[in-house]
Amino acid sequence: MSRTARQDWDVVVVGAGGAGLRAAIEAREQGLRCAVICKSLFGKAHTVMAEGGIAASMGNVNEGDNWQVHFRDTMRGGKFLNHWRMAELHAREAPDRVWELETWGAVFDRTKDGKISQRNFGGHEYPRLAHVGDRTGLELIRTLQQKIVALQQEDLREHGDYEARLKVFQECTVTRLLKDGNRISGVFGYERESGRFFVIESPAVVLATGGIGKSFKVTSNSWEYTGDGHALALLAGASLINMEFVQFHPTGMVWPPSVKGILVTESVRGDGGVLRNSDGKRFMFDYVPDVFKEKYAESEAEGDRWYKDPDHNRRPPELLPRDEVARAINSEVKAGRGSPHGGVFLDISSRLPAEEIRRKLPSMHHQFKELADVDITAEPMEVGPTCHYVMGGVDVDPDTAAATGVPGLFAAGEVAGGMHGSNRLGGNSLSDLLVFGRRAGLHAARYATGLTGPGRPAVTDADVEAAEAEALRPFSAEGGGAGGAGGAEGAPGPAENPYTLHQELQQSMNDLVGIIRKGPEMTEALRRLALLRGRSRRAGVEGHRQFNPGWHLAIDLRNMLLVSECVARAALERTESRGGHTRDDHPAMDRRWRQVNLVCRLLAESDEADPLLGLIEVERRAMPPIRGDLLALFEKDELMKYLTDEELTAP
């Protein structure tokens, strides 16, 4: 029998960002015992990087806003590929989730009459983003963290133990979901600090692990974003959808090289910042696509008037959805009109007084000052696209966040797919975390409540031992000459440095499955991924298990390779351009493709002997038709751009 330590909890949440913490709070408030597992320290999750705000149609700044308008904006932003039910729930529930944060101690910026202030953002018709300067994500994570502490203080009073019903296991990585038959029975993982393995037995697991950005070279994502949840779900038999849609944020830092990719918040544009090329031209006016022609200003004068008088003017095209702006910047740079370091200029200095810039965008001011020696109150920033967010994720039920096909598995936040369609609007991420985090926690709790006692799924020793062996493989990986048991696992060859493999993976994805894609390049990407997968079996590490980053990376490589293959395969399959998926060889949007979701699954039988063969199969699935009353929110003219004639004439 395995000597791995075991614990028993009702609900396990993997990930302690916005979605994970919100899920944990909900499960605990339902009266269940909930464990949260996170790779970093508690409170350091990637959510802190979110800057702009939380989209919620509270109507504090413009009373015309309501959930229907928010729903409409979300569907437009996602080019109608969003799961309509998720977009509906999201738009309806977001205001409650924001107000709830206030009762937990969040301190948002205020309007003159003391309500939560809301700011403009790309793709949102009204000022909608609740914010705290440009550090909204930090406020969100800290508020949830402090709410968890508040619940723990309550438990101390009632049970004499802070961790009686809610416990955070920090700096732990989950490497496998464990199952009993097809049902979830727990998780297997290791503590980063000690390297010790552990098993938590639990009938319900909520995945809230965020995204996959670390598979790309230029990214705004932190090291944690290795697609763990995506891969865990695949390996447990769940499926992923929409994986071809990767959002490249239009404005990341481009210089100096060591900070390339770090995010420059969209609020810079929301608050008046403009994009210019090396000729000093506001080029975005040349890139307004037909579907958005009526909604955006045609002249600089009109765009500038909009900031003061949004009811009688149209917004400037700098505030188009992110995919449009990212592509435009990419084209300008390719056409030779870029900035010295290969980006374009984002200028706020000529638009707002220095004092106001420092007040509204303090962390941007700080970030450029400290990292690039640029004073944004006096000179323009250089920016370019950076991998920011994956729209694709675990295929879930919209209402319950339950993963399709694996009872007991739930997913919320970036790791879940469907909500944002082919492109996410800024600000919709934080609200997504809260709305679906809560739903995942609630339904995981309900599911687990029914599974106490003998009906509870069990963890088998064999599964635990297999997981242990898998996790330990990097220590026994050795070059062909030296021999050793581990060498037999992979193809013969020298031991590989995991950092080198990771860099090669990032380079391949960036070059071949990046912002602009071509069929042959993606085929090449799949070939390289297969080779990397073969080599990754020989990824070896030195030292011991205590806080060994080389080992951690060797384990994470499995996940990055799996999700990268999903992205490349799905992207190769979808022969159109839409949202976060742009094909040079299929530049137009095709209404027939709107009806199709691409579903990725692990191949039932993969031929391990031939490493060039993939592990993932992609399948087409029809989108569910949008409910009539929701369709009625749009003008017929607009729908014609997205929906096929048959869909429009259907009763």
């Binding site: 970093s40 320290l41 508690f42 350091k44 802190v48 990087m49 509270m58 409650d96 107000w99 709830e100 206030e102 009762t103 937990w104 101690g105 301190v107 910026d109 205020r110 009459d113 003391g114 202030s117 705290v132 300067g133 550090r135 994500g137 930090l138 406020e139 800290r142 502490v149 508040a150 723990q152 203080q153 802070y162 600090e193 932190s222 090291w223 210089w255 100096p256 090289p257 060591s258 900070v259 770090i262 995010l263 700080h366 970030q367 400290e370 990292l371 440095n497 995991p498 950092y499 860099q503 590490v541 030195e542 030292g543 011991h544 205590q546 806080f547 060994n548 980053p549 080389g550 080992w551």
Partner: protein
């Protein structure tokens, strides 16, 4: 532009360790964390270091560079004296785990000892009304990224392990100040006096306002001037000030 820099990095664990010498390439615009990563990818693949965002927003990569507590991701190589050895060690106020990683559990334990925000009774979610000028002070403190550099540099615990039980440290005294200045916190209505707690439970009196916490704060929060001293003054209000005492007596009689 690239040059070779000489680094001394502390390697070891709780049983001991030493400063290891390395010569590493440094490129234009790089920060100390970039150089540590280069070391990791080349000659020391098992070098333990915490980091996350690499943009000064998460507060994970706290360490001591040339003897001063700093974030590795926000310390540009060009800000260090050229040609001189760069010494990187773990934070020295906390138990070491391995290499540059320390056990920061002290801070999480202290966080739990500060009673949470008490929502005002009778106000439903969505009914909170606060003016910007009323939330400004709390907002400054909520910029904190919990890098724990202030906790690390504070001599009260850095130089006196035995004070760790009695002293919450600047970060969590600031948290008390944040809640005490929150316009809608209803702690007082439940009988909780945060000012008294600051002094009696969280060790406010240990602070001798020597301002090292403010000096190291990467978010430039004026911890001493805006949180700790006002908190001390608030504690004085209820204990030592004769005029405030007189004023409250008169008002009580008048009422």
């Amino acid at each position: 532009m690239s040059y070779d820099a000489h680094f001394r990095v502390w390697r070891g664990d709780a049983s001991g360790g030493e400063l290891a010498d390395h010569t590493v390439a440094v490129n234009d615009g790089e920060v100390v964390l970039d150089v540590i990563h280069r070391l990791q990818a080349t000659e020391a693949t098992d070098l333990a270091v915490r980091w996350n965002c690499k943009a000064g927003k998460c507060g994970s990569c706290s360490a001591e560079i040339n003897g001063r507590p700093r974030l590795m991701c926000m310390t540009r190589m060009s800000s260090l004296p050229p040609g001189e050895t760069v010494t990187v060690t773990p934070m020295r106020a906390f138990p070491v785990v391995r290499d540059l990683v320390t056990d920061v559990s002290f801070n999480y334990a202290k966080a739990r000892e500060v009673p949470a925000f008490v929502p005002p009774p009778g106000l439903a979610p969505g009914e909170y009304r606060m003016r910007q000028e009323d939330v400004g002070r709390s907002q400054e403190f909520r910029k904190c990224i919990e890098c724990f550099l202030c906790q690390d540099t504070c001599h009260v615990v850095r130089d006196h392990e035995e004070n760790k039980t009695a002293f919450a440290g600047p970060r969590f005294l600031m948290r008390v100040a944040e809640l005490d200045m929150h316009p809608l916190d209803a702690a007082a209505e439940t009988g909780l006096d945060r000012k008294r707690a600051a002094q009696e439970e969280h060790g406010l009196g240990y602070c001798n306002i020597t301002k090292c916490c403010t000096e190291v704060c990467p978010e430039h929060i004026k911890i001493t001037d805006n949180a700790l001293i006002p908190l001390k003054e608030r504690a004085v209000d209820r204990k030592y000030d004769p005029l405030v005492w007189l004023g409250s007596k008169i008002r009580r009689r008048g009422a």
